[in-house]
Amino acid sequence: MNGAFVISQSDKRPMYLQIMEQIKQRIAVGDWTEGQSIPSIRQLAVDLEVSVITVKRAYLELEREGIIVTQQGKGSHVASKPGLGARLQEQELEQHLEQATRLAALMGIRPEELENRLREAGDRITEKETI
């Protein structure tokens, strides 16, 4: 069973992207380890109650990113690449930064100002942790 996979209806992104993200999370937190076999496309589709083609798309994209490997007739497994977890976190950070930059541009905030805000956010977090 893959009970903790949830496709969110309020998440505006396509379903295949949500599936990709949740697989990456499993790898990043270490639940799915390098070389471990992962559910077949058909099985995950049944568990998630989504179409086979949607899961297939997610697996294809993950394969293109080098995160999983699919072998004909043998199913799929997590790619064996050192530092995969770190790489995924790196990607996630990249996404958040892009999002913040886009929002800032929309609000008319200049890049230098954004840098300052980022430092301030860092200070706030350290403050909270020391309290």
Binding site: K12, P14, S51
Partner: protein, 298 residues
Amino acid sequence: MSDLAIDLSGVRKKYKFFALDNIDLKIPEGQIMGLIGPNGAGKSTTIRIILGLVHQDAGEVRVLGHRMPAEQVAAKWEIGFASEDMRLYESMTLGWHMGFIQRIYPNWDAAYAQLLLKRFGLRAEQKIKGLSHGQRVKATLLLVLARKPKLLVLDEPTTGLDPVARHEILRELTAVMAEEGRSILFSSHNTHDVEQISDQITFIDRGRIIDSMDKELYLDRWRRLRLEVPHGVELPALPGIVGVQQDGRLAIATANAYFPGLANAYETSGARVQRIESMTLEEIFVANVQYSREEVEA
């Protein structure tokens, strides 16, 4: 090329006030196809032609390799059909119906039928006349599913159901696909259901098929571009754009054949692309029906 569970080509059917016009519909074996369209679009007529219940005026219909309507008797053993207007015997129990169908269809899976009873929250001792709408729909579906047909044809299986019942039904339909080689065609108004469980999508409106293809490819082709149009800049007419709404300096362009070059072309014209958004099947449905009607009328 995989085998086709359903293969319609050039199918026509004329009624006094409605006509199905040149319907081509192909469903590969092992896939779920969602048939979407407004009321009166021709979904039910198409389904009835596939089942051999309505005879086409022209065109070829093959279902699981059987030529329809000529070979409908042979085909019926392998097809499971359920619709809202399915008649059950009101004064009989669900269990009586299960026994009845079991005697006719050799593929009946009694253990699976018991499992479905439990999953759907039904009881075999219940009489049909005491069932709620949702229970009736689930009972009908149970009777069809437990026969293990190679092809399931469902006319609006989730219409009028509460969210829990809908969820139970979608779960059973996707579970069918765990076995390779089984196929499902279902019609629905609920674009969310179709988006969730279909491999293939077919849009039908006013007796014509507007689009029929792989769901992922399809969703990928549609985009909404939010544009900022500076004073004096005129948006160019671009291929693949099916509609532009402009209000002052902000505009929204809808694309049905998106590629990154479209955004570049707008930028080149002097507009600024603020955001490129993917669309839900519901949004695509409405945009597509409006666009194709304009095309026909133009």
